[in-house]
């Protein structure tokens, strides 16, 4: 992928007023992927919603990186559970339709 489509970490950090080390730490925890091109570091645009969420957790809610790591995994679990719940509700709706008839 050309760097044209990537987000330069330096610029991203300046805009959000965060330290570069925060992104590096997220990378160390396996929470983001840093792409290196021509000795510069970039983020994939698709990662931005998750990273901005982590920025809010850390800088607004004062949650440390260990906490963010745990929350990230729990949120993934919640997402999977919500998908299951929707599928189960759809099945229940079908069952209830049968019951009414």
């Amino acid at each position: 992928m050309s760097s044209k489509n990537l987000i330069q970490i330096k610029q991203f950090c300046v805009y959000h007023e965060i330290e570069h080390t925060f992104i590096t730490e997220l990378n160390n925890y396996g929470l983001v992927e840093i792409i290196i091109q021509e000795e510069d570091e970039y983020l994939h645009p698709e990662q931005l919603p998750a990273i901005e969420k982590m920025i809010r957790m850390h800088y607004d809610l004062k949650i440390n990186l260990e906490g963010i790591d745990a929350i990230y995994h729990l949120l993934n679990k919640i997402e999977a559970l919500q998908q299951n719940l929707t599928a189960t509700q759809n099945k229940l709706r079908l069952f209830e339709q049968y019951q009414i008839e």
Binding site: P49, R56, D60, Q82
Partner: protein
Amino acid sequence: MDYIDYYKILDVTKSATEAEIKKAYRKLARKYHPDLNPNDKEAEKKFKEINEANEVLSNPENRKKYDKYGKDWKHADEFEKAGYDPNQQQYSQQQQGGNPDFSGFGGDFSGSDFSDFFNSMYGGARSSRSQSKYRGQDFNAELQLDLASAYTTHKQSLTVNGKNIRITIPAGVENGQIIKIPGHGGPGANGGPNGDLYITFNIENNSDFKREGNNLYSDVDLDLYTAVLGGETFVNTFDGKVKVKVPAETQTGTKVKLKGKGFPVYKKENQFGDLYITYNVKTPTKLSQKEKELFEELAKLRNHE
């Protein structure tokens, strides 16, 4: 519009110190922040309330005004006569230069909707650290579809934040499914990418078919003679009628799978689920004398076996 007890919302006393308010706010924010409560409308509502309470109680000027006039908010005119500037110039300046720890939280949610009570007291002025984001805000929308529309890939025009967009809805979309339309959220700032649009589908089923995933289910009435002797019947599918062979001595409740006659598989062209039909054998009514005699004869034959 009702009076709002901001102290009660943050669960602090009227004599709470700034540090206590900050602590209470942080604690509640961690509990109700939409980032930590995905798709939870109640938590989002609660978060807006605590954000608003914090906006008032964490700012000494706002708090002073609230403590003095909060319960008498209806007498706004008298407040103005008493020297309050309705534009709240002083308020906004103070927020900009204030302690960033005390500013409102941002996020992919509409946290800026303050109550009418707040707006009547403070003229709608407020601050937020994350008002302008690098990446544009994500938008969420709900779209109502009937099952017939979800059966075919089609285009639909939507108005999102005043802009018309035309999207393609792939056949086979599920009730409750969320699809992402990249780049159709809020605009990014400083060269940042636009946010995305998330559409949740609510699919209403007004058809005679029941749907579970890609499979469809329906009941098919069968006349007694075809059920007993076997033959053919026409069965409604989502795209027309098909002829189905009925074996002799078919019972009510017999299920038959019509392969590939179900719902389209999402984003898999020319792949369909199955249609399961359940036969419901209809007993003839209004029998003629002759028919009745013949049935009696059949009954005798059966009883003598």
